[in-house]
C-alpha cells in the first residue's frame, strides 16, 4: 500500500494510529443517524410520560404449524429426534474442527478456523440468531451434545439413568449466580487475556466447556449445566425473552386437563424436560433449551412454535427473581464494557491507568479493575434510580422487589446494543470464513496485509449505509421496548398502592435514556477490529 493510499485511509477514518501503530478501525454510525435515534428517544419518552398502559392479558400469537406446507415441515422437524440429532452432529463436527485447528493450526488468528469460526462467526452471529430463533442454539449446542453422548451413551431417545449420579443440585447453587460469574470470567478471557486472537486458547476454552458439561451431567440430574451454570445458555435465554418466537402449548385447556405431564417427566423413549419446565405453565423462554423433548413426548401433540410480539415476555409475562435481575443487569454492563474495550481510546486509558498502579505486561490487573468498575457502575446507577423511584412513589414495597421487577429494562437495552455492535463484527469480520474453511489449519498462510484487511473489512455486503440504518433501527427498537417495560412493570408495581403517575418513573426512564445514549455514543465512534 502506497503512502498516498494510506494517507487516504487515515483521512477516511478507516485507519487510526494507536500507540504509534497503524490500526484498522470500523467507521462509526454517522451523526445523522445518531440524531434520528435521539429524536425518536425524545418522542418515545414523552409518549411514555403522557399515556397510560393497557395491560393486555392475551397479546396475539400465531401458531407456525397452522401455515400451509411450512407448518407440516416444522411439525415434522420438531417431533422427530433424528432430525435434531443430525443438525447437532454437524455442530459437533464443526466444534471438533475448532479444537483441532486451534491446537494444531497456525497461530495467525485470521487464518485459523478456531478463532474465525468461534469469534467472528459464531459469537457474533449467536446474538443475531436469538433475535430470529430464540433459544434454538441450545438445542444444537455442541459441548452439551458431546457431554450427553458420552454420559448417556445414546445418540437420541431416553438413556439409562444410571450413567449419572442424578443428584439434585444443592439449593445454594440453584441460582444463576454461577452463570454470571462464568460470564464475567468469559469476558475477562475474551477481552483481557485475548482468547479471541489466540487459536490455541480458543481450543482450550472449547475443551474446558466439554469437561464442565460432562462433569455436571455426570453428577447432577437432567441438564444442570444448561440451567444454572452455562454463561452462553443463560445469555441466550434472557435475550430470548425478546425473540419473536416461542415454544408453547397450542391449546392451554389440553395442558390444564393433563395429569401425566409427559413434557416434564418424559416417556419411555423421550427424555424429560432438561430444565424442569412444565409446558402448561410456561410463561418465560429463559430456561427453555428448545430441545424439542416436550413436542416429541406430548401425546396430544399440543406443543408448537408460535410467533409473538417481541416485547410480550419482558413487559409482563416474565416473573422476576433476585439472581436473574443481577444477571440481566450484569449482561447489560458487560455488553457495554465489550464496546468500550473496542474504542481507540481504550488502550491509552489502560496504559495511563497501568502506570498509576504500576502494572505491566498484559495489564491484566488494570484490565480486571476496569472490568469490575464497568460491571458495578451501571448496576450502582440503576440501584440509585430504583431508590429514587421508590422515594418518588412513596411505596411501601421493598427495595429488593422494585429492583428485581424493574431490572427487565436492562434486557432490551443490552440486547439492542449487543445486536448493533455484533452486526458490525459479523458483516465485516466474517468475510473470508469460506477461505478459512477450505484450509482450517491455515497451513502455509501469511498474516493479512493492511490492504487485504482494508478490502476484507470495508467491502462488506450489504452496503455500509444499510448496516448503519439497521443499527439505528435496533437502538430505537431496544429503547421503545425498554420504555414499554418501565411503563408496564411500573404500573403493575405501583398502581395499586399509590395514585400512579408515569412521571414518578422518571428516574428509571432517565437510566434507560442514559444507557441508550451511551450505547449510541459508542456506536458512533470508530471501532478497532478484532483481527
Amino acid at each position: 500500500m502506497t503512502d498516498d493510499e494510506l494517507f487516504a485511509l487515515v483521512n477516511d477514518g478507516s485507519i487510526c494510529i494507536i500507540n504509534g501503530e497503524r490500526t484498522m478501525v470500523h467507521p462509526g454510525l454517522p451523526y445523522v443517524w445518531g440524531g434520528v435515534v435521539g429524536f425518536v428517544m425524545l418522542l418515545a419518552s414523552l409518549w411514555m410520560l403522557r399515556t397510560s398502559v393497557k395491560n393486555s392479558k392475551n397479546s396475539p400469537r400465531f401458531n407456525l404449524i397452522s401455515l400451509p406446507v411450512l407448518g407440516n415441515l416444522i411439525r415434522y422437524i420438531t417431533t422427530r429426534a433424528w432430525v435434531l440429532t443430525s443438525i447437532k452432529s454437524i455442530s459437533v463436527i464443526l466444534f471438533l474442527m475448532v479444537i483441532v485447528a486451534g491446537l494444531f493450526g497456525t497461530p495467525i488468528a485470521e487464518r485459523n478456523l478456531a478463532t474465525m469460526l468461534t469469534w467472528n462467526v459464531w459469537w457474533a452471529g449467536l446474538i443475531l440468531a436469538v433475535f430470529f430463533l430464540g433459544t434454538t442454539w441450545c438445542s444444537i449446542c455442541p459441548w452439551d451434545a458431546i457431554a450427553t453422548w458420552l454420559v448417556r451413551r445414546r445418540l437420541w431417545l431416553r438413556a439409562e439413568p444410571n450413567n449419572s449420579f442424578n443428584l439434585r443440585v444443592p439449593k445454594q447453587l440453584r441460582t444463576i449466580w454461577p452463570a454470571l460469574l462464568l460470564f464475567t470470567g468469559l469476558t475477562w478471557l475474551e477481552l483481557g487475556a485475548g482468547v479471541t486472537t489466540n487459536p490455541y486458547a480458543t481450543a482450550l476454552l472449547a475443551l474446558i466447556m466439554v469437561v464442565l458439561a460432562t462433569l455436571s451431567l455426570s453428577l447432577f440430574e437432567r441438564k444442570a449445566f444448561c440451567q444454572y451454570f452455562c454463561p452462553i445458555g443463560r445469555t441466550v435465554g434472557f435475550y430470548a425473552q425478546l425473540a419473536p418466537v416461542e415454544l408453547r402449548p397450542i391449546d392451554n385447556d389440553v395442558c390444564l386437563n393433563c395429569t401425566s405431564l409427559e413434557c416434564f417427566h418424559g416417556t419411555d423413549l423421550i427424555e424429560p424436560c432438561p430444565t424442569h419446565l412444565v409446558m402448561g405453565t410456561l410463561k418465560q423462554s429463559t430456561y427453555c433449551t428448545s430441545c424439542g423433548n416436550c413436542s416429541q413426548s406430548c401425546p396430544e401433540q399440543n406443543v408448537a412454535w408460535r410467533l409473538r410480539s417481541p416485547s410480550t415476555e419482558a413487559i409482563q409475562e416474565s416473573r422476576p427473581h433476585w439472581d436473574e435481575a443481577w444477571f440481566m443487569l450484569g449482561l447489560m454492563a458487560l455488553t457495554l464494557f465489550h464496546g468500550v474495550t473496542m474504542m481507540p481510546f481504550w488502550s491509552s486509558w489502560i496504559s495511563n491507568f497501568g502506570q498509576i498502579i504500576n502494572d505491566s505486561g498484559q495489564m491484566l490487573w488494570t484490565f480486571s479493575i476496569g472490568l469490575i468498575i464497568s460491571l458495578l457502575m451501571p448496576i450502582f446507577l440503576y440501584a440509585m434510580m430504583v431508590w429514587l423511584t421508590k422515594y418518588l412513589t412513596r411505596t411501601t414495597l421493598s427495595f429488593r422487589r422494585v429492583f428485581t421487577q424493574m431490572a427487565f429494562v436492562a434486557i432490551p437495552l443490552a440486547f439492542a446494543y449487543h445486536l448493533a455492535h455484533n452486526l458490525n463484527h459479523l458483516l465485516r469480520e466474517s468475510i473470508g470464513t469460506w477461505a478459512v474453511l477450505q484450509n482450517p489449519l491455515g497451513n502455509n498462510m501469511l498474516p493479512l496485509s493492511l490492504s487485504e484487511q482494508y478490502f476484507r473489512h470495508m467491502q462488506l455486503q450489504p452496503h455500509q449505509d444499510i448496516l448503519f440504518a439497521v443499527q439505528a433501527g435496533l437502538m430505537v427498537f431496544g429503547f421503545i421496548i425498554a420504555i414499554k417495560v418501565i411503563h408496564a412493570r411500573g404500573q403493575y408495581l405501583f398502581n395499586s398502592s399509590v395514585k400512579f403517575s408515569a412521571w414518578k418513573l422518571m428516574p428509571v426512564l432517565l437510566f434507560a435514556v442514559g444507557m441508550t445514549s451511551l450505547h449510541l455514543f459508542l456506536l458512533m465512534q470508530p471501532m478497532t477490529m478484532r483481527m
Partner: protein, 191 residues
C-alpha cells in the same frame, strides 16, 4: 563461606523478585507489504517506566533456522530510548521448568537490541529479556514457538479428565446397583 553466600542470595531473592516487573505480552503477526521480508511476530507492552516493543523474525522459526529478536525500549514519559545493555535468556516452556540458558548480552545499536538465535528442536520456549534502568531490574518474558510442537498436553488432560469422570461414575453406579440387587434378593428371600 559458601553457606553464608547462599543464605544472602536467598534472603535477597524475594526483594529482587518483588522489584522486578514480570511481563508476558500478547503476540500479533504482521506482514510488511513494502518489503519482501517474511512475516514477523510482534509484541507491545509496557513495564514500569518503559514502553517495550519486541519483534521476532521470522514469525514462525523452524529448528536449525536462524532467527532474530529486535527489542526496542523507550521511556513512557519522554520517548527517550533505553541505551544500556539487555541480557537475553531462554527456557523450555514446560511445567515446573525454570532452567534458563543464556542467549547473549546485547548493547544498543541504533536504538535496537538485536539478538540472534538458532534452536535445534521443535518446542514452545520462553525468551526472557532483562535490563537494569535507574537501579531497578526489568524482566520481560515472551513466548516463542519453534516448528510445530505437538500439543498433547491439553488434549491429554481433557481426555484424561473426561475418562476419569466417566469411569468413576460408572464404577460407583455399578457397585451401587449391585448392592441394591443383593438387597432386593435378600428381601425377596425373607418374604
Amino acid at each position: 563461606m559458601k553457606k553464608i553466600f547462599i543464605i544472602i542470595v536467598i534472603a535477597l531473592l524475594p526483594v529482587e523478585l518483588l522489584l522486578a516487573h514480570h511481563v508476558l505480552g500478547r503476540p500479533a503477526y504482521s506482514l510488511n507489504e513494502d518489503s519482501n521480508t517474511p512475516p514477523s511476530m510482534q509484541v507491545e507492552t509496557q513495564i514500569g517506566n518503559y514502553f517495550i516493543n519486541y519483534m521476532v523474525y521470522p514469525a514462525f522459526p523452524k529448528p536449525n533456522e536462524p532467527g532474530r529478536i529486535n527489542l526496542y525500549a523507550s521511556r513512557l514519559d519522554n520517548d527517550a530510548p533505553f541505551t544500556g545493555e539487555v541480557t537475553f535468556t531462554v527456557r523450555d516452556d514446560s511445567w515446573f521448568n525454570q532452567d534458563e540458558e543464556p542467549l547473549g548480552k546485547q548493547p544498543v545499536d541504533d536504538n535496537v537490541f538485536r539478538q540472534g538465535f538458532v534452536f535445534a528442536k521443535d518446542g514452545n520456549y520462553v525468551i526472557t529479556a532483562s535490563f537494569k534502568a535507574e537501579g531497578e531490574p526489568y524482566i520481560i518474558e515472551f513466548p516463542l514457538r519453534i516448528g510445530n510442537p505437538a500439543p498433547i498436553g491439553p488434549l491429554g488432560i481433557a481426555f484424561g479428565l473426561i475418562a476419569l469422570i466417566l469411569v468413576t461414575v460408572s464404577v460407583i453406579q455399578r457397585k451401587r446397583l449391585g448392592r441394591l440387587k443383593v438387597r432386593q434378593a435378600q428381601q425377596d428371600i425373607n418374604v
